[in-house]
Amino acid sequence: MRAPRFAAVGAAALALAACAPTALPEGRPETLTVLAASSLAEVMTTIVSDFEADHPDVNVAVSFAGSSTLASQVLEGAPADVLATADEATMATVSDELEIEPQIFATNTLTIAVPAGNPGGITGVDSLSDAGVVLVTCAPQVPCGAATALVAEASGATLSPVSEESNVTDVLGKVASGEADAGIVYATDLARADGVEEVALEHADAVVNRYPIAALPHASGSPSQHAREFVAAVLSSEGRAVLAAAGFGAP
Amino acid sequence: MSLDAHVLIRSRAVDARLTVERGRTLVLLGTNGAGKSTVLEAIAGIVPVDSGEIAIHGRALTGGGRRVPLASRRIALLSQDDALFPTMSVLDNVAFGPRSRGSSREEARHTARAWLERVGATDLAARRPTELSGGQARRVAIARALAPAPEAVLLDEPLARLDVEAATAIRALLQHVLRDVTAIVATHDALDAHALADDVAVIEAGVVVEAGTASEVLTRPRTAFAARMAARVLIRGTMQGGALVLVNGTRVPVAGGPRAGAAAGIAVRPTLIALALGDEPRVPGRAWVTDTVVALEPRGDEVRVHGSAAAADVDPAEASRIIVGERVLFGVPTGLPAYAI
């Protein structure tokens, strides 16, 4: 009774192998390696499982880290099929070296995170410089800190943070634990954090962070079919819906 | 005025009573493991006692549930291992006590120099303890123990682990520095006892079995153990008409002694006792005691043949012919002073 079904699956696999040159024979799923910025962790996981449901012959392995780390991994020759970074400058370091065509798939803006209940009574960017307000931001050397500086400039506020962290996660940690009264973070980071609330940041649109994604060329010189399909899935309306739900803006 | 101690430590089976009159030296005589070190450490305050009382010149150190802390006892201890402080110079070692007792740094050093001179170690002042020979270290340790002018000093085997030459020199030094000092010297050596003791207490298995002046205990011991520690053998019997009559009936003519019928004994150095096997000719002028060999004890150049009533030292060649359990005759000199037991 079962043999015919096995035969049918085998035939389908063969058919797929015939039309998709990069698919491995014998029905073994191809592994697609996606490198994504840490801030994309949740949305990428959702998009990946949707993608895998649509492509049963592909097994997607996602690796999350800071954008610069990922970029340097790619430049060091780590095997990867797709790269999604949290800013264009980092992607540019890769596109300078490799033949790729990055596309913007999401945007993100800064906002103010306060501990649950807003114990510091933060009302907006001006109250961040009030005496006694403990503010934590990203260090100006890293992208989220550079963006913070630009927004502060646009709003005319002078910020004096007690700590300049290397990444958003460390900023959120200080706020969520109540050590800081406020932190400046990305809307998306705030959306997935527990124990924090949002206070609107005026002039946040002075810096709109754009998230580029690119299919990376293989040893053969051009990206694989599945890598292109994955990028397309991220840019599709289904992908956009997932991104919007996590606080990302449209490009 | 005296140092009076009753030391009771059940876990070490020690129950010893001692008294030292002010300015006198008591030699505590016993074998290794008899409890000498424990008794000294208890008096010094290092080892806690279960009960008992220790008092010096009327000042109680233990008893009634109180215990005077180490630093307030004013009893110095010279331990077998010298225990000089390795991180200090010899001078600072000796100055440590006076400085701890409140002398200024200069006074303490002055006292220390005086003591180093008394023990003949002036030229060692700048050295580290690791740079000293055994005899030098012992001199420094003696100076250190005496420098704070303790009310009593306890010396644990002060002549142990020294070569013959150093031991001789240190023995002479102790005779000199312990004069007029209230001291207890623990030793297993009869020579040290003769050289240093005003009084002697013999300790066996944690208990003082005999105590008295040096001449009493060393020349007229009343127990076999005390006799042994005094390097003698005690021959017991009953007085009868100018002779000591042994259990087996042998008569040993003696000088003096208690009244007839009283228990008495003579303490004889085993080298003075002759030994004869069953059919050997017997030298006249001795009382020959028939006995059975109990044990053979090698003692350096000689072997001590122990019987149940007497013992004799013989040379190893002769001893090699003797077997335990064999019947022998001990030739005891006659005319030795007898005393009541």
């Binding site: 943070p161 007690v162 290397s166 109540g178 050590e179 | 180490l70 630093a71 331990s79 440590f96």
Partner: protein
């Protein structure tokens, strides 16, 4: 002691596990810019802060670790093993966990938060506290094991000579523990210098206040990898020097 020959390839492999990452680090240092990388204001500020905080932390470790070592030695039976295990926890704790633990104790909302009024977080004192927390076990272990080697005879003799317990401690016991104390202090200093996770989690990162050399490296890694490598090399050199001092031949004699 000479072992069997088959130990040799394993020993070589073991050496490579240590040497290759160090070689990798050296390979990334831009030697032409090494001087400017190390003397850049941010680098110097971070190094100075690290040396200052690690020195204070080492002093605290000496003052607190020695009594703790004595207390540990004085304990009897199962208590000692239990307390020792607790005191040594910072040695084996993941650094971030150490930071969280400090946060929950001394942070604004921590056990002592109200008592401290939130004044500790984001200060240099928080850095020193984090460093002391992770470095303390080195001193405690050093002191305890050195005390275990002692019979107590010297202390007893000193007592019979009339010395108070304080005098015995300072004149007899501590001098004798000298080499162990030096080793403990040097290792504690090295550990404090390298402290990262607990500082990042607990103290924050602000130039001149809480951004020690390891945090500067962490930040520079994102923006200026050559500076990160140069500063890392300086820390490695310091660590090698410190360990060489602590374990120099004869230091235990």
């Amino acid at each position: 002691m000479i072992g069997p020959r088959w130990l040799v390839p394993l020993a070589v492999a073991g050496a490579l596990v240590v040497l290759l990452p160090l070689a990798g680090l050296v390979s990334r240092v831009g030697w032409s810019e090494f001087g400017t990388s190390v003397t850049a204001p941010a680098s110097l500020e971070a190094l100075a802060l690290s040396l200052r905080t690690a020195t204070i932390a080492t002093l605290l470790v000496i003052v607190l670790g020695i009594p703790l070592g004595f207390a540990l030695r004085a304990m009897r039976g199962p208590w000692r093993a239990l307390v020792r295990a607790i005191v040594l926890v910072p040695l084996v704790l993941p650094p971030v966990v150490g930071g969280l633990a400090l946060l929950y104790a001394f942070g604004r909302r921590g056990l002592l938060g109200d008592a401290l009024g939130g004044s500790l977080a984001f200060t240099t004192a928080a850095v020193v506290l984090a460093q002391t927390f992770v470095a303390l076990p080195f001193m405690v272990v050093s002191v305890e094991s050195a005390l275990a080697q002692r019979s107590g005879r010297h202390e007893a003799v000193a007592g019979t000579l009339g010395a108070s317990r304080t005098r015995i401690l300072f004149r007899v016991t501590l001098p004798a523990l000298g080499p162990a104390l030096a080793t403990g202090a040097v290792l504690a200093f090295a550990r404090a210098l390298g402290e990262f996770g607990a500082t990042l989690t607990f103290a924050g990162s602000l130039a001149g206040v809480t951004r020690t050399a390891p945090l500067e490296i962490y930040l520079a890694r994102e923006t200026d990898p050559a500076q990160a490598a140069a500063l890392s090399l300086v820390l490695v050199a310091l660590a090698v020097a410190v360990v060489a001092i602590a374990y120099r031949p004869g230091s235990r004699r």
